[in-house]
């Protein structure tokens, strides 16, 4: 049966109507019309659906919407504001998170389907590991699958973004 509940996504509280077992992905997609998280497997195997829950990467395809109430959800669309908050800046929110800029600079995506999860997982990694080694990046990203094989570009982009973030800028 459908219930009405409140969830906080990218800094805004939304009232949504859904059965409590509905995976968060379908609420983000069909109720809030967010494009970032994508359906890949519904099994938490590929990572295309990832979002941050209180800053940690989760699989929205297997997380019931009831489990996220009272917590902060950040989707791909919310990364620039997250970066502004992490910097503690009062300036306007930048158009891009340094990771998104690095993804453009390094020309990472091919089809792009998995890249939402890659960016979310990388944001999780860089929040705790400011200057990761290549091995740390590989280990952190290992649960995300890319069929186009963009892994090398992802490693290079995470390293680029880490340098940018150490400077506290976007580019």
């Amino acid at each position: 049966m459908a219930s009405t509940l409140k969830i906080k996504v990218n800094g805004l509280v939304h009232s949504v109507t859904a059965s409590l077992d509905t995976p968060l992905l379908y609420v983000l997609h069909n109720e809030l019309h967010l494009h970032g998280p994508r359906f890949g497997c519904g099994l938490a195997q590929c990572g295309a659906c990832s979002v941050l829950l209180d800053g940690k990467e989760i699989r929205s395809c297997v997380t019931p919407v009831a489990a996220v109430s009272g917590k902060e959800i950040t989707s791909l669309e919310g990364l620039p504001a997250l970066w502004a908050k992490e910097r503690g800046t009062t300036a306007a929110v930048p158009a891009l998170h340094p990771l998104q800029q690095a993804w453009i600079d390094e020309q990472v995506p091919q089809c792009g389907y998995c890249q939402n999860g890659m960016l979310i997982q990388a944001a999780d990694l860089l929040a705790t590991t400011k200057n990761p080694t290549e091995d740390q990046i590989r280990t952190a990203m290992n649960g995300h699958l890319c069929r186009c094989g963009t892994y090398t570009a992802i490693i290079e982009a995470v390293q680029r973004a880490a340098k940018t973030m150490a400077r506290g800028s976007v580019k």
Partner: protein, 801 residues
């Protein structure tokens, strides 16, 4: 009253018409209303033309007053940047505008792009082509359009500036001469003009039970094109226009498009590939109040305005739906024997591959006689399993069959016109009533080059049944079990060596089901027209690299799709092309045998290849691989090779592939733990010389990506199936390479503008690692790896051989 003076002139075969308006006359519309690049088009396309007129410039290019340009191509963007990147570079080059001036690229939609486009081999010029341009296929259409346009703009500028064309120069879209200048935008704004471009063929596709006809719209003539030596845009690393939208979540995928009244659908799939419906299961309307079931033949759809409800309802209906049994597959464990014992006698044998230089048949000499007289012969049988394309996003289509008789699909795939023809045939309507809107989406790696990638017919049939827009999303398991796959192959090879170990004869016989099952799954299940069966012919994709070998015969032996002849649903183990189709398997056999012959001759594998070719492009690539990989020049196996023990042993291996005017060589360093059977690739190097490198960074990126897919295939991938169904159902039962398993990949590109040719850059990297890793396995262990994937269980068996 308006008065129009009209003047026509011939521009290298195109017709330029200038219309001069008398002051006060009404405006003449130029151009069309179109969606922005990579958007899905307007949800209600009513009133827009069903087909663009390819003879009109405005169908291809729109030059705006601000000197920016919108371009259109029927070829789709697959993520490698060919249609939206390389094609835009070509247009910018021919028009003498910056790459950034091409602000919009509209791709692959039947009502918004002028040509068709089986989107594979976008740029390549085939060996033996005598075209003056360096490009072929889809690139040639857009290059010629841009070249005609450039000449027309020069003519307009000459008239406007009063300066002969010969005295004009163009930079960044501004024409200068005689101390005056005018921009393209001003030329177009100041006097309406139209350009009629010569074309042949038709973009529109018609599908009958026996044939698919059309999708061959070609821009003809040879307008002057810019000499390769003057290129300033082609050959530079330009950014992919789609990427900002992909990393910000602003690019809408099919799942992001919503239409009023739209229903979500999930399909209840048959219990086996060959099953037919006995009875439909019960829908619990209490638990799923908004859900409904639609049945058409063996197609059972469950629909709801709420996606999660559709998913839950479909699962409960599936639990009680009854299907007939069927067990017509051999089972993947018996695939080798099944391919050995299959009937190939009713299918014409393909004889000979392609000579990489002339494009002619590569058969030469008398292989049979030469083998009989050889000092030594080597024989081996190689085996490749079935593999999945494995898109990360499962099939998804939004269809809207409207009461006005039009049919709209929002979809991601390679061949919009083919899909349009297939859906028209399915519904029994004219292709003019069907609108296919291309949308950004998950890569398919060849799965959709016949138009369908999965659930298109499901969506159309259900939308027609309920009179509402329907979005069909396949679940992960469904995408594995009901999409097509690339076929496995059995390959018998014999090599003849002379007394000095030189190769004097080569014979390869390649056995596999044919490929190209583009029949829409939903049409097959619903019993509606699905178009012709897949080909049953197995072709030869190898290009013969070793011109010093005097006797060569390669033969392709085809057969039916496994299981299909006995399947009541007419569905068996459906095959489809996938990047480097059949080439990856046949070249694995060819290159593995060259490596075996080198070992038998006691010669280093690179040196052995150099002995057998006089092709300078290949020689350059081989020598570059040697230096760039840090190759140890010595015969295989390694002096330290071992097939026993728990200490990992190391090996190096290499291979080459020639594919449509591109020359590739790859080397792998691996370790093998003989006790556990674990294989790890430590280092991997690819060298490519594709003639002109259009976009160096993008070629590097897509080569890295293809290498990951190929290494994944070599180490991990094998489709499993039992007698009834596919049993690889997710990323656990069909594992692909992960980031921690990826070696360091080095890509070396060699550009040869002097060759005036662009080879195929996008897909060969998928087909290289298998033979290189197999060769490294032999180097490390002294045992042949004549099949893959090199999973531990298979490796342990190989090491006991």
């Amino acid at each position: 009253m308006s008065a129009i003076e009209e003047m026509s002139s011939n521009v290298f075969g195109a017709t330029l018409t200038r219309r001069t308006f008398v002051k006060g006359s009404g405006a003449l519309l130029v151009g069309l209303s179109v969606p922005a690049a990579f958007t899905a088009g307007s949800a209600s396309a009513a009133g827009s033309p069903a087909t663009l007129d390819p003879s009109q410039l405005a169908s291809w290019l729109e030059i705006r007053a601000d000197n920016t340009i919108l371009m259109r191509t029927g070829w789709a963007e697959l993520g490698q940047g060919s249609a939206s990147g390389a094609f835009a570079q070509i247009v910018a080059e021919e028009l003498n505008v910056p790459y950034a001036a091409i602000t919009h690229v509209v791709v692959g939609s039947t009502d918004a792009t002028p040509d068709g486009g089986l989107s594979a081999g976008f740029l390549m010029k085939v060996p033996g082509s005598t075209n003056p341009e360096p490009f072929g296929r889809g690139a040639l259409n857009i290059q010629r359009v841009a070249a005609y346009t450039y000449q027309a703009l020069l003519g307009l500028a000459s008239t406007q500036l009063g300066v002969p064309v010969a005295n004009l120069t163009v930079k960044d879209g501004v024409v200068s001469g005689g101390g005056k200048s005018v921009s393209y935008g001003q030329l177009v704004a100041s006097g309406q003009f139209s350009l009629t471009i010569p074309t042949t063929g038709s973009a529109t596709v018609n599908v009958s039970p026996s044939a698919v006809v059309g999708d061959n719209l070609t821009v003809t003539g040879t307008p002057p094109t810019k000499p390769v030596s003057q290129y300033t845009v082609i050959g530079t690393s330009q950014p992919m226009k789609a990427i900002p939208g992909l990393v910000t979540g602003t690019a809408p995928f099919v799942a992001d498009i919503r239409l009023p009244g739209m229903l979500h659908a999930r399909i209840v799939r048959p219990a086996t590939l060959g099953s037919t419906l006995v009875s439909v299961g019960q829908l619990d309307k209490t638990a799923y109040p908004t859900a409904q079931v639609v049945v058409k033949g063996n197609l059972v759809g469950v629909l709801s305005p709420n996606e999660w409800e559709a998913i839950g309802a479909a699962a409960t209906v599936a639990a009680t739906t009854k299907w007939t049994a069927w067990a017509g597959l051999p089972g993947s464990g018996n695939l080798f024997q099944a391919l050995r014992s299959a009937d190939y006698s009713h299918v014409p044998t393909t004889i000979g591959g392609m000579d990489p230089v002339t494009g002619k048949n590569s058969t030469t000499g008398n292989a049979g006689a030469a083998l009989a007289g050889a000092a030594r012969t080597l024989t081996a049988t190689y085996f490749a399993p079935y593999i999945k394309h494995g898109p990360i996003g499962p099939s998804i289509t939004l269809a809207d069959v409207r009461s006005d008789g039009t049919v709209h699909l929002w979809w991601h795939g390679q061949a919009a016109q083919k899909l349009r023809g297939r859906m028209a045939a399915l519904l029994g309507v004219s292709p003019e009533n069907v609108f296919v809107h291309w949308v950004v989406g998950s890569g398919h790696y060849g799965r959709s080059n016949g138009g369908t990638e999965g659930g298109e017919a499901d969506a159309v049939i259900l939308s027609q049944a309920v009179g509402k827009p329907v979005r069909v999303t396949w679940m992960r398991q469904e995408d594995f079990q009901w999409s097509t796959q690339h076929q496995g192959m059995l390959m018998d090879v014999t090599a003849g060596l002379d007394a000095n170990g030189n190769l004097v004869a080569f014979k390869g016989d390649y056995y596999a089901p044919g490929t190209g099952d583009d029949r829409p799954t939903g049409a097959l299940l619903a019993g509606l027209p699905a178009g012709p069966n897949a080909s049953i012919v197995t072709g030869i994709s190898n290009e013969w690299a070793y011109d010093k070998v005097p006797n060569v015969l390669e033969q392709g032996h085809g057969t039916d799709q496994l299981g299909q002849p006995s399947s009541p649903s007419n569905i068996g183990l459906r095959t489809h092309s996938m990047r480097t189709p059949t080439h990856r398997q046949e070249n694995f056999a060819l290159e593995s045998m060259i490596n075996e012959a080198a070992a038998a001759a006691g010669v280093d594998p690179i040196e052995y290849r150099l002995r057998h070719t006089s092709n300078q492009r290949l020689i350059t690539v081989l020598n570059t691989l040697k230096s760039e990989h840090g190759w140890q020049t010595r015969p295989s196996p390694s002096p330290q090779a071992s097939a026993t023990g728990s200490t990992p042993v190391s090996g190096q291996g290499m291979m080459v592939m020639l594919r449509y005017n591109a020359y590739w060589a790859a080397a792998a360093d691996i370790t093998v733990n003989p006790k556990t059977g674990k294989v790890q690739v430590q280092r991997y190097t690819v060298v490519v010389e594709p003639g002109i490198v259009v976009n160096p960074r993008q070629l590097k990126r897509i080569t890295e990506g293809g290498s990951v897919q190929g290494i994944s295939e070599a180490l991990r991938e094998e489709l499993t199936f039992d007698r009834s169904k596919i049993t690889s159902v997710d990323w656990v039962t069909y594992p692909i390479l992960r980031m921690t398993e990826m070696p360091k990949i080095k890509v070396v590109t060699i550009s040869r503008p002097d060759l005036n040719v662009v080879g195929m850059g996008g897909e060969a990297p998928n087909g290289l690692p298998q033979a290189a890793i197999a060769a490294a396995f032999y180097d490390a262990t002294g045992k042949f790896a004549r099949s893959y994937p090199l999973r531990p269980s298979r490796v342990r068996t190989m090491l006991k051989a």
